[in-house]
Amino acid sequence: MDPRVEAYARLLVERCIDVRPGQQVLIRSTPLARPLIEEIGRLIAARGAYLILRLNWSMWPLDYGWAAEAPAELLGELPEIDRHACDHMDARMTIDAPENTREGADLPPERLALVKAAERVFFRRTMSDEIPWVGCQFPTQALAQDAGMTLPEFEDLLYRACLIDWDAEGDRMRRLAERFASAEQVRLAGPSTDLTIGVEGRTFAVDDGRNNMPGGEFFTSPLEDTAQGVIEFSEFPAVFQGHEFAGIRLEFRDGRVVDATSQSNEGVLVSILDRDEGARRIGELGIGCNPGIQRFMRNALFDEKIDGSAHVALGAGYPKVGGTNVSAVHWDIVKDLRRGGRIELDGAVVQEDGRWLI
């Protein structure tokens, strides 16, 4: 077996979750992640904890085949057994290992909105950090293909981004995050982009390889009614639930998207924004810092950590950093700042062309 799989499993069990005896550790994934799941199973056993495996071709608790044909009145709420599991798991790992990243794209939008609303109960205790959790991926052909790579190339990239000295990275990011936390306003500027967002009083969290693997970002939930201006995501396409959008342009007033255009799939974009009240507000502002990630991969988990990028997420905010926005949507959209972009804190430039000046 690839020795990196064992190191990866160790990182997830020991650093990200720090599994404790007797815990019920819920893992959701697909069968494609088998080598990693088996290794994790061994490590969880050695730590004297339970493995609650939720394996399906769709990501538990969703099943797109079921959702396509079940009566609409059943879609909006998880079955009681699954709700109970969400409420009683002591830790959770999400291991994305898709065989096709477009899965679910054929589900009618109104059905998708219902099942996504039902899924919220699964995220409730992790969005608030009530329990330890991690989201990660296992290399599959589908992820490699989206990234424009062969599987071995993608494996190399994934392990390079994950198997690093997280303590050292954490120190570096905490130093940057402290500067952001002491500012009142963040400005993202660049070609066709000029967006200001208030962050006063909000906490900046550093992902030093705990809740996401790879980690490598620091982020906050900005003040919900402060975003003003325009941001254009012209460098990379945005991807959400199997849909791809080129050249999204969002205009904000008092925190809300008041105008949204896209060169492709604009109708879908608008339907996502209209899914609920919170979907038009920013739930997260994040700064990508992972030196192992330099290129766009059509993969939110990695792309939001590109060194020299920033991302905003439409939808749900994180209560642990002060966020109050509620939504069934949480859609990270990544903006490359490495060519002509800059970040200002209260008027002072702190990053230019992706390079830190602090």
């Binding site: 609650i52 495996l53 099943d63 044909e69 057994i81 009683h88």
Partner: protein, 362 residues
């Protein structure tokens, strides 16, 4: 992917399972436990459940037993007790559909038997709901290379075999089995004679059950829980190996006195046989006597679900009996061993021959 999408038999199979075997009702929570290779059937089952207005809770597992790597290394006290989340699932599910689709029939055979037993002990109290009828359930198989190989067939042959055994006229077969069961219900002593075999036991006061569109797919057996202390004599499983948890034990021979196995031997893998018989008190007594009646199954395939229904065979399970059939034997074990009676075997009821060489005289 095998069992190519669009194979109409898969749709038919799924409908039979969901609509006739367990008859899913609106609002039910239906757990669908399956191995990944069962995917075409699982997809069809999940959709059939959706169309009945019920929740499908698919649970894939890499093998049976599941999570083998965890099972091998976890502290025994954890293996012996289900986690709360899984207990809750067992308590609350309305229905369970199990799809066996092995990728390798030997997976799990390297787990120490005491760990497999511990795991079975953990789940047994919860499986009571399957036995007492408060949770509808059905177990079935989906054709895979491993199951075909185990049966000595190509995948295509095994597909024909499997669908031939499950897509039968269940109403007609059910009526025929009921007719046979009535005779056994009325009898007290059963004697099974065959190669290396002369075993008597009592069914006095016990009622049989026929399996047609019941908990097993394919069905096609009549079964009883015999009077626990009645078995006397010997049985030699000379025709087929006795298959259990990845083991195929050749030439099992069991001698009974007053219902208990007092002598046990095997031509190969004898320590495994003995370790199972010693796993608890009830493992040395009979929990089931069954009669195979499925005309679509004529050959042994090292696949108990099918083998126990071979027309012209009987099977005895060591281990737990069925409370709903009056059985009182408790055990974590239930190991069905199949005896072919088609060449020189016979069944007598109270001294009257009712079956000889696999042919009924009723």
């Amino acid at each position: 992917m095998i069992g190519s999408v669009g194979d109409q038999r898969v749709e038919e199979y799924a409908k039979l399972l969901v609509e006739r075997c367990v008859d899913v009702q609106p609002g039910w929570q239906v757990v669908v436990s399956a191995e990944p290779l069962g995917r075409p059937l699982v997809d069809a089952i999940v959709r059939a459940i959706a169309r009945r207005g019920a929740y499908a809770l698919p649970r894939l597992r890499f093998s049976v037993p599941s999570e083998v790597e965890w099972l091998k290394e976890a502290p025994l006290e954890l293996v012996e007790e289900l986690p709360g989340i899984e207990k809750h699932g067992w308590d609350e599910a309305d229905c369970l559909i199990v799809v066996i689709a092995h990728e390798n029939a030997r997976v799990g055979s390297d787990v120490p038997p005491e760990r497999v037993s511990a795991m079975r002990r953990a789940v047994r109290p919860y499986q009571q709901r399957l036995l007492d009828g408060t949770m509808a359930w059905v177990g079935c198989q989906f054709p895979t290379q491993a199951l075909a190989q185990e049966a000595g067939m190509t995948l295509r042959q095994f597909e024909e075999f499997l669908y031939g055994a499950v897509l039968v006229d269940w109403d007609a077969l059910g009526a025929e089995m009921r007719r046979i069961a009535e005779r056994f219900d009325a009898a007290s002593t059963v004697r099974v004679v065959g190669d290396g075999t002369d075993l008597r036991f009592s069914l006095e006061g016990r009622q049989g059950k026929i399996d047609a569109l019941g908990a097993n797919m394919p069905g096609g057996e009549i079964f009883y829980s015999p009077i626990e202390d009645s078995a006397e004599g010997v049985i030699g499983y000379t025709e087929y190996p006795a298959c259990y948890t990845g083991h195929a034990v050749e030439g099992v021979r069991l001698r009974f006195e007053a219902g208990t196995i007092v002598g046990a031997s095997a031509e190969a893998d004898e320590p495994f046989l003995l370790s199972i018989l010693d796993s608890d008190e009830g493992a040395r007594r009979l929990g089931e006597f069954g009669i195979g009646c499925n005309p679509g199954i004529q050959r042994h395939t090292r696949n108990t679900l099918f083998d126990e229904k071979i027309e012209g065979t009987v099977h005895f399970a060591v281990g737990f009996g069925f409370p709903d059939l009056g059985g009182t034997n408790t055990s974590a074990v239930h190991w069905d061993m199949v005896k072919d009676l088609r060449r020189g075997g016979r069944i007598e009821l109270d001294g009257v021959v009712v079956q000889e060489n696999g042919e009924w005289y009723l």
